[in-house]
Symmetry: C2
Subunit: 331 residues, 2 copies
């Protein structure tokens, strides 16, 4: 079942069939209909490999994340995949884990596969660009990063102003009378740095001092966050509110508080499904994946359309605090 069969049954040449397949040139309406009908009837579908050979594109985009079982990445992928699919693109997924070498390896695999574009989810992929030798000859394939801001040729970024969000959140807490904010974070990626910067800014604006003893790096697991807070409580370290760079860390902190019979404002970040599941329901800074993801797809389509004529860009969205029980709106 090839283009030749269709051509034969229609009494036209394969070039004509190819043209109606691609809409690449004018074909008389009557001819086109005849061809289309034949395709329909014979259930013809073009061989993607042959197509790819000719066009050097198979309408595929590669998506990379560190761990799809993490709610943040899963949500992002769930927002991107159907969107791209509806535009006729297939999505190849890669879960790299945290090793930069693996990230590089996956990137190479995607390039070898001649994907049309690559989407990186999460700011940990920013690392790849820190050392340019890590980045393969990426000239041909545009790269789109969700939630990270790097300057690199042919790289397009879509981010959320997390610094601003953390700044405001800190001020909110300060306004509520909380002066000793415990900050739990997992990694100092681009995003991580932004959050910390925002926090400091917020404290400063509220005439509070940042306390390095209350800025603690933990593993991105509930249990580690809980253990750390358990220990702080045991040590009677004084803090009266908690912010975390991730919902899962905030939830761990909550567990520690509950276990200790304590209660204080806890605010997470990412507003993942975990936030609403936890008890008390977690107030969380929403980094607008619902906006970032479609925006990324739009930029991607434009770039692919314009065949790289676009200049690298950064698109920014504003986060918002999604209030739940763990920190109620005051007004």
């Amino acid at each position: 079942m090839t283009i030749y069969d269709i051509a034969k049954t229609c009494g036209v040449s394969i070039a004509t069939v190819s043209r109606v397949l691609n809409g690449s040139a004018k074909v008389r309406a009557a001819t086109r209909d005849k061809v289309l009908a034949a395709m329909e009837e014979q259930k013809y579908t073009p061989n993607p490999f042959a197509r790819g050979l000719g066009l050097d594109s198979m309408k595929t985009v590669g998506i990379l994340c560190t761990d799809i079982s993490d709610a943040f990445f899963a949500k992002a992928v769930s927002l991107v995949e159907p969107n791209l699919r509806s535009r006729g693109f297939d999505v190849i997924l890669g879960c790299t884990g945290n090793d930069p070498a693996d990230k590089k390896k996956y990137l190479h695999l995607f390039l070898e596969r001649h994907v049309d574009a690559i989407i990186l989810i999460g700011s940990s992929f920013g690392e790849i660009f820190d050392h340019s030798h890590m980045v393969p000859a990426t000239g041909k394939v545009p790269i789109f990063i969700i939630n990270c801001n790097v300057k690199f040729p042919n790289v397009y970024c879509v981010v959320c102003d997390e610094a601003g969000g953390f700044c405001e959140t800190a001020q909110l807490l300060a306004k509520g009378g909380y002066k000793h904010i415990l900050y739990l974070y997992d990694r100092l990626t681009y995003s991580g740095k932004q959050k910390l910067k925002g926090l400091h800014e917020g404290l400063k604006k509220s005439k509070l001092e940042a306390n390095p003893q209350l800025e603690i790096m933990v593993e991105r697991t509930m249990s580690d966050a809980k253990n750390v807070v358990d220990k702080l409580l045991a040590e009677k370290k004084p803090f009266d509110a908690i912010i975390a760079s991730e919902d899962i860390l905030a939830i761990g902190a909550q567990k520690a508080l509950v276990a200790a019979g304590l209660s204080m404002p806890v605010i997470g970040c990412n507003n993942s499904i975990l936030a609403s599941c936890s008890t008390p329901a977690l107030t969380s800074l929403d980094n607008r994946l619902e906006a970032l993801c479609p925006a990324t797809v739009n930029v991607l389509l434009q770039v692919l359309e314009g065949k790289g004529k676009m200049t690298p860009s950064v698109t920014t969205f504003e986060p918002y605090l999604c209030y739940r029980d763990s920190f109620k709106k005051t007004e």
Copy 2:
């Protein structure tokens, strides 16, 4: 940068280069090394499209799930993707949503793309096979289903004995003196039916009557589960324990109980990350994705290896109850 370039710099024919590329035939060690070195040096990678054209395979497997933002599917994908990747396969992901027509469409897309195999995650894909006209000419491409049991040519199933798990769980509750078990479930897919069957069996073995009024179908959301339980409580429907077909439903139920100041055993299913996040931490029936997923990949590799010589099979694992605070182990 093609096979011709390598051939030329090595003074051999493209056939030889191709052979070392594929290990498909004997090549003198010296020649092979020379070719390999040239490839290395010139950073040659074969064009996957041309390769696909010749071999009709691009080492790709398609994975379908209804919603990757759901913890269950996300976990499954996170267990399958790196495994397949390490075997040299790329993974194309499809999130179909619940519409059977969309599932069929995705299946067709995968087939058009000539994937080497297709993995379906979750028993809702069993529906596709209910009406054989839904299933495309699937002769060539083997299909693997995680967590669903259907009999169909060229379909291989890897499942968890959820009926058994629910049976034992019901008996456990009965033994604990709980006689009115509320069962929340989302859909009566294959898996859903197994769970219900197991529940009934467990009740019967415990000399308890199943009560249809306490078997309630809800949406697969926390809020709907909560609302339903809220209403039941308001109506004073008598029940003294809760089992849910999904962690997220169990968590919704817990929320309702907490809100009403009540406490009773709550048991979820899937043992997703949500279970440990919820407060009280949710006891959950673990359906062994950690075992199912690697097993699926193994069967897949065998089938692809044997080029379809394997007969359709069902691989079964036993679930276990992961105890947490919402229902403590009694002994």
